[in-house]
Amino acid sequence: MSILVYTENWDGKFKKLSFELVSYASEIAKKMNTSAIALSIGKVEESELQKLGNYGAEKIISVSDEKNKVLDNQAFSKIIAEVANKENSEIIVFAHNNSGKALAPRVSVKLHAGLVSGVIALPSDFDTFTVSKKAFTGKAIANVVIKSPKKVLTLSQNSFGLIETENNSIIENFEPELSDTDFTTELKEVNKITGKVILTDAEIVISGGRGMKSSENWAPIEELAELLGAATACSRPVSDENWRPHSEHVGQTGKIIAPNLYFALGISGAIQHLGGVSSSKYIVAINTDHEAPIFESADYGIVGDVHKLIPELISEIKELKETEN
């Protein structure tokens, strides 16, 4: 028996979320008296693979074939299921991100395993196998039982944290049985913005709403984001008006994020918006309307004009950074 965790790489590197996933899988493995195995697909250097061992992976399986450079749902899920069978894995863990959502459902069908997506904690009961997850887009927590012998979980980002352990890992290269017909999608083009903090990875997010009044008023938000190493985001009306791209929309129908700090600037805080940001550790709200619902969910609030207050916030933070240096 084993717990298998799929660790995606980004241009050959892992992220904090990869280590969080391995920490989570290792804790499950400990409770079930078995071992955690990490699976990496794509080209990753040995020194990078080894990092997974710092969070409790006892074995790291690397499928480093050049063919697996771009995510192909059919080929990747075939590899993961093959490894899960070979390692007799009872539980397979994925991130609840783009690739996890693409692969976990396919793998679950291949293994006839029950899937619970977006879990937020370790199983509360290992006998019945009960796990909790968010439901109704953050408005409730559901406890779900998986009845099948094999189980697939996707873990919500920033819901578990990192647990470092002594590194006793071994690395094993594996060549799956793949033919060209297993690859069913073909990459034509990649459009990537570099140098910007990625919204779903960001520890701090600066988000603007209708109160920003127009797309021309975004410069202070971008300046504040750069100052704090933060990502920029927006509410739904802002992306609907095309002031900002859809990829920046956070909320029930946009992205669900869980940063340490979320700035809601000129955002009234409709229930659909809160669904996307309520997992943030701290929320700061600035709004002219003291009755705006955002203040019910915020930790710190200022009633006032964002256009006047963001520049003040920038200069105060600059001052803080100067005194720190």
Partner: protein
């Protein structure tokens, strides 16, 4: 070419969430039901493609797994412009069994579109499972789908950008925000026509549920917001630095 849109019947996004039966069941009393927002965008995009490609798309169907109470939502999809609807007559309890049910209908289609998740149980699962049951390609996080000549062009969101991919029919597209800008609203004519369009009731197949939602909780309530005077932004920065320790 035939397109199938998988539709979830979900509570309106402004619904106040309550539970009954000792917190074991979602309280449906007074709930307004809608087409799951991403499914509605998928349907909108399918209609745009049908208009754009001039006869290449012969039919757009919608399918939902649910009891008779789900029919108004399917009628709305017909009013928006779908040609035909299927209701698989059983309760949607578990993603795996829902996908297995839909696979029976979906096997006759070239492009199958599913929303990235349903706004009630947030499973993000049915589209991927369906593609596996059908053993056909799937692309997830799809923010645009186009048909140019005979090529399928798919834009898939990745961290910090997008990839343009191509694949062969039949395939499943799991779509998110961006696939269409605004969902279409039914016109008066659409509502009249929808009454005459076929809404087929399909008997479910035998399939076991692999998961079960056993209980629900409301998230813990937050402490009161600390209000800071607008003349004292410095205090906010101090609190974030010294109390919350996040900057």
């Amino acid at each position: 070419m035939k397109i199938l849109i998988c539709i979830s019947n979900v509570p309106d996004t402004t619904t106040k969430i309550k539970f009954t039966g000792d917190s074991t069941e979602f309280d449906v009393a007074g709930v307004q039901w809608i087409i799951n927002p991403w499914d509605e965008l998928a349907l909108t995009r399918a209609l745009e493609l049908k208009e754009k490609t001039n006869g290449k798309i012969e039919k757009i169907s919608v399918v939902s797994v649910g009891l008779k109470t789900a029919e108004p939502t399917l009628r709305k999809a017909l009013a928006i412009g779908a040609d035909e609807a299927f209701r698989i007559d059983c309760e949607a309890k578990d993603s795996n069994s829902v996908a297995a049910q839909i696979a029976e209908v979906a096997k006759d289609y070239d492009i199958i579109m599913c929303g990235i998740e349903a706004s009630d149980y947030n499973g993000s699962a049915v589209g991927g499972m369906l593609s596996e049951f059908l053993n056909i390609p799937s692309v997830s996080s799809v923010s645009n789908l186009d048909i140019e000549n005979n090529d399928i062009l798919i834009s898939r969101e990745i961290d910090g950008g997008a990839e343009i991919l191509t694949t062969k029919i039949p395939f499943v597209a799991i779509v998110q925000k961006g696939i269409a800008i605004e969902p279409r609203i039914p016109s008066m004519r659409g509502i009249m026509m929808a009454r005459k369009k076929p809404l087929n009731v399909v008997s479910p197949i035998e399939v076991e549920n692999l998961t079960e939602f056993v209980s629900f909780e409301l998230p813990p309530s937050k402490a009161a917001c600390k209000m800071i005077d607008a003349e004292n932004v410095k205090e906010l920065v101090d609190l974030l630095h010294n109390e919350a320790k996040v900057i």
